[in-house]
């Protein structure tokens, strides 16, 4: 492992920001630290950078314990949410800052700054001041500045949180490409799961100062290891008593379950007659239909269990009060500490039919 955190603890007064955090990161990976606000993700980043000191535990970078190294000796690039560009310096001087610290000669600095401006796609802004740039441009410059001294590790603290939605999407893809190009090990913090899923090679999910799961985005999505992850990822809803649903039997201790729209198939009452799993469907009544651009989102009530699913655009429309047949394909059952995937029995038995 290139970077290792071992049993890190950190408190701010009564607040436990890191509760025995341990994980490792391979060289060259792009890692997303994902969690709700207050889950301790930024604290982890700041401890890695040496901007915060852990109460106990070890941080190892490239085989070297950096516990005692101050931030100015760790050689880490840090990109702040609010950019933190020096407002009184030109873009050129901002990017050159770290190189001047390293006492590089003028010619080298000039060349390196030009190279970085080229890399971030803003070759002509060197003479401008940060307040003459848009938010997206500022963050690109902040990245160029962090990369200038050729750090071994790049840390980004919610880099796109202050940027409007459309530019944010562009920047995500751009960041991914840029980091791939340089091949630098990077960790970014976000509370936006779309961002983490889209950008990261691996996602570290934090909650209440603990690490809940570390996996690639697909695994996080399909195989949540803890109840928190199952609830946090996707558009998840809790079903308190799933034993009432057809095709599901209560397993030990797992009283409640989590359901996502993609686990549900909604059929019009009259269309379901020849459906192979007609007998495993629940009767439900449509409560609400809302248009989501590429599909309808339908909220329906099975007895008193409320579920939300998608309904395609090309089919005939549903409206409030319509009777529908609902097939629930799977659930994530949860207890205090674990999550299991529970597939509808009907589908489980006849996997041949179900593709």
């Amino acid at each position: 492992m290139y970077i290792e955190l071992k049993n890190i603890n950190k408190s701010f007064g009564d607040f436990k920001a890191s509760d025995n955090v341990s994980f490792g990161i391979e060289k060259g990976k792009l890692i997303g630290l994902l969690g709700p606000s207050g889950s301790g993700k930024t604290t982890i980043l700041r401890m890695l950078a040496g901007l915060e000191k852990q109460d106990s535990g070890d941080i190892i970078i490239d085989g070297k314990n950096v516990n005692k190294l101050p931030s100015n000796e760790r050689g880490i690039g840090f990109v702040f949410q609010s950019y933190a560009l020096f407002p009184f310096m030109t873009v050129y001087d901002n990017i050159a800052y770290g190189l001047k610290v390293q006492k590089k000669d003028k010619k080298f600095i000039k060349q390196r700054v030009a190279e970085l401006l080229e890399l971030v796609g803003l070759p002509d802004v060197g003479k401008r001041y940060p307040d003459q740039l848009s938010g997206g441009q500022r963050q690109r410059i902040a990245l160029a500045r962090a990369l200038a001294p050729q750090p071994e590790l790049l840390l980004l603290d919610e880099p796109f949180a202050a940027i409007d939605a459309k530019v944010r999407k562009e920047l995500r893809t751009w960041l991914r490409d840029t980091i791939d190009k340089i091949g630098i090990t990077s960790i970014f913090v976000t509370h936006d799961q779309d961002e983490a899923i889209e950008v990261a090679d691996e996602i570290v999910i934090t909650n209440k100062g603990r690490v809940e799961q570390i996996s690639n985005p697909v695994e996080i999505y399909l195989e949540p290891k803890t109840p928190f992850v199952a609830q946090f990822i996707g558009q998840s809803a809790i079903i308190e008593d799933y034993s009432k649903l057809k095709g599901f039997e209560v397993t030990e201790n797992n009283a409640s379950a989590i359901i996502r729209p993609e686990f549900i198939e909604i059929n019009k009452f009259e269309d379901s007659e020849y459906h192979p799993f007609e007998s495993s469907m629940e009767d439900a009544v449509v409560e609400d239909v809302s248009f989501r651009g590429n599909s309808f989102e339908v909220r329906a009530l099975i007895d008193n269990i409320s579920i939300t699913g998608r309904y395609p655009l090309n089919a005939s429309r549903l409206k409030k009060g319509d009777k529908v047949k609902v097939l629930i394909k799977k659930l994530y059952t949860i207890d205090e500490n674990t999550t299991n995937i529970l597939v509808n029995k009907a589908l489980d038995d006849s996997e041949l039919y179900y593709i």
């Binding site: 950078a49 901007l51 101050p70 931030s71 100015n72 000796e73 760790r74 050689g75 880490i76 690039g77 840090f78 702040f80 609010s82 933190a84 560009l85 020096f86 407002p87 009184f88 310096m89 800052y97 770290g98 610290v101 390293q102 001041y129 307040d131 500045r145 962090a146 200038a148 001294p149």
Partner: protein, 258 residues
């Protein structure tokens, strides 16, 4: 339509430059002076006449030179001491803790209150006046510089540190530039304190300067001289502040100076 627009923007311009207010004040003054005699309230014209008179015999010019010279001496001396001291005190928290109680005590001792002491310590010559002006303009600069250092964006310091900068470099490249805006405000406030103080000092002791001119006018029953001195002071103060403001806007734009 277009004509209307240019008309309204022209009116706005006139309103904005303040000419109307000036015309109004001078008119009020003129009308008021009609009711009283010259010894009580000289008219604008009489004021200008005595200014001309004072310029002719050279007293106004020599008084301006004397006062402005003292202001500049005391004020520059104050900048030289207050700004570096403020930067150091602001940057080192233990020093700040030591200095703050003393500071908040002396801040409320006006320079005028120290005149007698300063006369005793520095004599009746230039030194005591310059010392008073120094004292008067020191605190606004000192306090504002400390505040400027304290208000440095912590993230800028962290950013510099992550790029490998040691404390001394962070101080000169991040903390000092961050404080420029406050230092500039302090320097401007210091100048106005200096001008207030020079007049008071010259009124109390000495034989030249605009304060002396205003004060001595009562000896000769020349109220219009007092007016001439006051107008001159206002013009000098106004011009000095405008020059500072201009420099601030031109040169310090990126230091968040407004």
């Amino acid at each position: 339509m277009e004509n209307n627009k240019t008309k309204s923007s022209a009116i706005q311009k006139i309103l904005k430059c303040g000419i109307i207010s000036w015309v109004a004040i001078i008119a009020l003054w003129g009308i008021g002076s009609l009711k009283y005699d010259e010894y009580f309230l000289p008219s604008p014209k009489e004021t200008i006449d005595s200014m001309k008179e004072l310029i002719k015999d050279g007293t106004l010019w020599s008084d301006i030179v004397a006062s402005v010279g003292r202001v500049i001496k005391g004020w520059l001396l104050s900048i030289i001491f207050a700004v570096p001291m403020g930067l150091i005190v602001g940057n080192f928290r233990p020093v700040r803790w030591l200095v703050e109680p003393i500071l908040s005590f002396f801040r409320f001792v006006p320079a005028i209150a120290l005149t007698t002491l300063f006369l005793m310590w520095f004599g009746v010559g230039e030194e005591s006046k310059v010392a008073l002006i120094f004292y008067a303009s020191f605190f606004p600069m000192f306090v504002n510089t400390i505040a400027g250092v304290a208000s440095t964006d912590k993230q800028l310091v962290e950013a510099a540190s992550c790029m490998g900068a040691k404390k001394a470099r962070v101080f000169f490249t991040v903390v000092v530039p961050s404080a420029v805006s406050n230092i500039y405000t302090g320097i401007r406030l210091g100048l106005s304190s200096a001008i207030i103080c020079v007049v008071a000092a010259e009124m109390l002791v000495g034989s030249d300067g605009l304060g002396y001119l205003i004060n001595s006018s009562k000896l000769y029953y020349k109220t219009s001289w007092a007016f001439a001195g006051i107008v001159t002071l206002a013009v000098i103060g106004f011009a000095a502040d405008r020059i500072l403001q201009f420099i601030g806007k031109k040169k310090l734009k990126h230091f968040d100076v407004k």
